[in-house]
Symmetry: C2
Subunit: 129 residues, 2 copies
DNA sequence: ACTAAACCTACACTCAACGTCAGGTTCAGT
DNA sequence: ACTGAACCTGACGTTGAGTGTAGGTTTAGT
């Protein structure tokens, strides 16, 4: 598939794909004959993964550091140990984020309840129709 | 307390505080005599809250939309209903994020296990000391 | 052969969220 | 009265994550 279709399927612009390629997030893809890029499905999967990791709040740099795990084995034992370190740091971060996120959720719920009762109350006193 | 101390306590720079004030995230604070800003503890709490919401991935704009909940009641019933809408959208987003985050955590754990076993294996075959 | 749609590179621009710098004012202690 | 630390504003610089545009090339359909 060409860049246009890939972009459409992944819900990003072709400029974004060029950008990801430039910063090393997405491999340059096959370049047949002239300069056209041709992608297969793994490129699409990679873009999806990138989007998912972005939603978790990772920067593109951080994503670059972990994404290859999903698509190839780290090369050599040095690489593996480095990757292990990254993963362990990442899981600690994730746990902290989970804690904060659940607390935030609780907060939201209690505020929703509060708002609802305030609205109810206002309705009953101001305009009982 | 003055801006320097507030900045130190909250772990941000004074320029960040100026910036937050300029975009309406932080009230201008008391300005006695000459232009010096004097803050009380709620300013500190507000900065903490902002930091927490940032860690959850909200933009400063989004934070501005919800932070007042924590410090004052929304005014009028119209405001309350608007706020309620924001809160409910936010909680849906939060739930989605929680789902993704736990999945990501699971992924990380399985990758960590995989890496550990690969490293172990490599150690045993390559250099059995 | 021709044309429109899709592609290419390269540079410039945007926007958020700050940081840096310069030049001036104010406050606290001596 | 004086000095150094803390403060002020305003303009400009920076980084991350892209977007826009210009000018040229390639491909697919007719």
């Amino acid at each position: 598939m060409q860049i246009g279709e890939l972009a459409k399927r992944a819900g990003v612009s072709h400029r974004t794909i060029h950008y990801y390629e430039r910063i090393g997030l997405l491999k340059p893809a096959e370049r047949e004959g002239a300069g056209y890029r041709y992608y297969d499905d793994t490129a699409y999967q990679r873009l999806e993964k990138i989007a998912a990791l972005k939603r978790l709040g990772l920067s593109l740099d951080e994503i670059a550091a972990v994404i290859d795990l999903y698509f190839e084995d780290a090369s050599g034992i040095k690489g593996k140990e480095k990757v292990l370190g990254i993963l362990e740091a990442q899981i600690a971060k994730t746990d902290a984020q989970l804690t904060e996120l659940t607390a935030f959720r609780r907060d939201l719920e209690s505020n929703i309840a509060r708002m609802k009762s305030l609205i109810d109350q206002a309705r009953r006193t101001d305009c009982p129709l």
